[in-house]
Symmetry: C3
Subunit: 156 residues, 3 copies
């Protein structure tokens, strides 16, 4: 399978449409390229018009569900890159990934949640998917999303 | 009105002085340009020496007041750009906006608060103000500010 | 003392080894350079395999300990730059510093905690260490770390 076929398969598995315009929540754009740098807006685990993983991780949301949320949010970012570049092969590098986990008091496994996104990037992009990362536990996320993430990619 | 006149009017409406050196809180600089990229430090709704919108949004601070906080913090960022470049016309693009909302448990309208900043950017800069954005709800902000935001702009 | 000797002395004082590969927590890299920009992953106050300053600042962790945490996390970032560039003299500029403080409700001195990192950057790098900064108070950090920080540096 090519990278693009793999992305399509991953999207289909969670109900995302690779060719659909992704819904966003406010007065901004989901992606902007300046020079080779491609900035992506904060992505939450939204499929269609629904945020499919909500709640506070370590309390009303399990760590496994939070990993699923990170996976879907990361897929959305990859779909945006695919739609912008025409192919994942246009991604030379993921430079930075920021992961925000809506956390319960005492939940300290934000890195483990973020690993679900990092693993997907490596699975779909190989060495080009290896990145610098920051993950933190925040108090609330838009739409009660369990996870939000943004990234900076480098175009080939 | 020119962009600069609009900025001056917006500043006057909230008590900000377009030509005054903005007070900051620590051992760093409010703005730094590298190549075309202009990075701006986290801005809170400070007017003169006072943080004018404090509290936890969804509890001791209303959503309307939080929007006002985002508006003022964004104005401060625009004042910094104006002072650095001599005119808002020197801004080719706002590349990224990060918005941190000091949130109550259960307050999930961080995007709506961030829209107050996004709307101001569009009002003053037009298409050049359209940006990529991440907004999250954090537990505490410096000086009990209701909102903090930072951005990256691109110089013309 | 040269910058590198100063860094070695600061590391020795807290038990960090300037030449040891720093342990990280997930499927990503600690540092990546693109063009002149060097991105560094989120650093917590880890020495060897132990996170040496844990807890919620303003409650189970004092502000003084939080400053120590920021100091160690910042040292780790500088060690990464040293290892990557062969010398701190290869750092032309610290462009941006983001500081996340695991905060108690009502703790609003995130800027004062972040100052411990900013002061270290200035001490070791002089004018090249002056940067743009954002500091926020988050609800939970990986491994219950009191402070996490990341940065973007510019290579000479």
């Amino acid at each position: 399978m090519t990278r693009n076929q793999q992305l399509a398969a991953c999207c289909a598995a969670v109900g995302l449409d690779l060719h659909e315009a992704l819904q966003i929540g406010g007065q901004y754009v989901p992606l902007m390229q300046h020079g080779q740098e491609i900035h992506i807006s904060g992505q939450i685990p939204r499929v269609g018009s629904q945020v499919v993983v909500q709640g506070r991780v370590g309390d009303s949301c399990s760590e496994a569900n939070a990993c699923h949320a990170a996976h879907i949010a990361c897929l959305r970012a990859l779909v945006l890159l695919y739609q912008h570049l025409g192919s994942l092969d246009g991604v030379a590098r993921i430079l930075r990934l920021n992961v925000y986990v809506q956390s319960a008091a005492g939940f300290t496994r934000q890195s483990e949640v973020a690993n679900a996104a990092s693993a997907l990037l490596y699975q779909l992009l190989g060495e080009a998917g290896v990145h610098v990362r920051t993950s933190v536990g925040v108090y609330q996320l838009p739409k009660n999303a369990a996870v939000e993430l943004d990234m900076v990619a480098i175009a080939a």
